[in-house]
């Protein structure tokens, strides 16, 4: 059986486990790791082989050296497919790889069938597309929260790669990585529950209400663009067309009207719940359960009720 290369996100995120799960339907799974990764986790989810590449040459120059490493590996092992995460870096590596190999590329897939056909959800979640790479092997980026990771233990062989990093792969240099306050909340794109606030939340201080509900539910916090633009919450938490795409089991929209560009980032959520004081707000058209009311009354009451039930 041919190998399937899965390019692992640093730290082994949930999307990596999803990719490993999808990859098992395509061939024998080989994980490609840049830097450190939890190899036990990769083994638990079916990696039969782990390729690792490290060192400053590979790690500190963005996507270019990593694309070179994957391209060399593709030429050497002729895999059945290459899967990468639909993250900024995953797409960057994928784009370079496609050019290097003069190969097709599909982004933001939610599934890949055994024959390489990828399923994508486009246009603000309104349209489902099935596509295929017609030149070369399938290079596909997978959107987080596309599938439920299923374990399938393997005992991987580990191989350290020596990557021939050229000068043209080192034209950019990451000179600083600044970690910002992160707390214990799950990551937005991978969270099973997301609680988002919009302009209706009113100010930055009031976002504590949104955070409180998120924490009680064990979820992540999101925000609409209006809330971000008004300075209520940082940009990396923006959900929507120009923010993150989330697809959690539960999405809670508080004081969000439900503009089409916001829907673009959350429409594929399994269950949607909304609180909005305007009964005509478009968010109610997609909410499985809606409360027409003042979020400053409804949310604290809901929080109390959850505490009572715990």
């Amino acid at each position: 059986m041919a190998e399937v290369l899965v390019v692992v996100e640093a730290g082994v995120k949930k999307v990596t486990l999803e990719m490993l799960t999808i990859a098992r339907g395509l061939g024998e799974v080989s994980a490609v790791v840049f830097g450190e990764a939890d190899q036990a986790k990769l083994a638990e989810f079916g990696a039969a082989k782990i390729y690792t590449a490290s060192g400053a040459d590979v790690l500190d120059h963005g996507a270019a050296p990593k694309a070179t490493a994957v391209a060399e590996l593709v030429k050497r092992v002729s895999p059945a497919a290459v899967l990468l995460a639909s993250t900024q870096e995953g797409k960057e590596i994928a784009g370079r790889l496609a050019v290097k190999l003069d190969n097709g590329l599909l982004t933001d897939a939610v599934d890949v069938a055994a024959d390489g056909t990828a399923t994508q959800v486009v246009f603000a979640g309104s349209t489902i597309v099935k596509s295929k790479v017609t030149k070369g092997l399938p290079i596909v980026t997978i959107r987080p929260n596309s599938t439920t990771p299923v374990a399938s233990a393997a005992t991987p062989a580990v191989e350290e790669l020596t990557v021939a990093v050229s000068d043209s792969d080192k034209l950019t240099t990451v000179v600083e990585r600044v970690a910002e306050q992160k707390g214990s909340r799950p990551e937005l794109t991978e969270a099973g529950i997301v609680v988002s606030g919009g302009r209706g939340v009113g100010n930055a201080d009031n976002f504590k209400l949104v955070e409180e509900l998120a924490d009680l539910l064990g979820g992540a916090v999101g925000a609409s663009r209006a809330a971000v633009d008004s300075g209520y919450y940082p940009h990396q938490f923006q959900v929507g067309q120009t923010g993150k795409t989330v697809s959690p089991q539960l999405y809670v929209a508080l004081g969000i009207s439900g503009a089409i560009q916001h829907r673009a980032g959350m429409q594929t959520s399994k269950t949607i719940v909304a609180v909005n004081k305007d009964a005509e707000a478009p968010i109610f058209e997609l909410a499985d359960f809606g409360v027409v009311g003042d979020l400053f009354k409804v949310v604290p009451q809901a929080a109390d009720e959850i505490r009572k039930r715990k």
Partner: protein, 259 residues
Amino acid sequence: MNIVVLVKQVPDSGAERTLSASDNTVERGSASNVINEMDEYAIEEALKIKEAHGGEVTVLTVGPSGATDSIRKALSMGPDKAVHVADDALHGSCAVATSKVLAAALGQLNADLILCGAESTDGRVQVVPHMLAERLGVAALTGARKLTVDGSQLTIERQTDEGYEVVTASTPAIVSVWDTINEPRYPSFKGIMAAKKKPLQSLSLGDLGVAGDEVGFAGATSQVLEWSKRPARSGGAKVIDEGTGGEQLVAYLATEKFV
């Protein structure tokens, strides 16, 4: 500094968008078309750099002849001139082919700095900037929320899930920007009038030495097999808060096993 800004025309994301029933490409006829929003931020950044350091700003678009509207709109913000690559053979092009054409055009433009949006709202592929860097052999600084130019030295800040990174490179380089980088200016009346007279050069594939069968459906590296509309979500229960809205909400979450 010689700056080229990549501007793509896309269907308005606020309007209904669809794929064509006949050939599965993005339907550009029925939707109203606009400048890809992120590219307006790239134009603004280019103009700010020109104002601070001097130079020239050229808009480059690969797209159908109707894209001229968006090019004129881009010029009305302040760039000096535009290049429009239009060719019937381009219809149906994939990102790999589009990057080939953009790279060929950029090869004639001698840019020190290429600015573009981080992603287009129709494809959302976010890959064109890196494809171009790969093809042109220039540095790629992508996803910038801040750009500093110091002679030939470029420094960006880019948001990551964990915080942010500071990344540097020297020109020539391609920099893609997010909407957090600046606030694009509105075209002035004077700008709109001036835009009508600014040079707009049209190029065909032949002018760029790209063969027709390297692009479009003939050269596509991927293919849409089929598409369908997802069933529209329908609203479920809606209660009006009369004092117990929060409790009812939690009762619902409990039946769905979220609490």
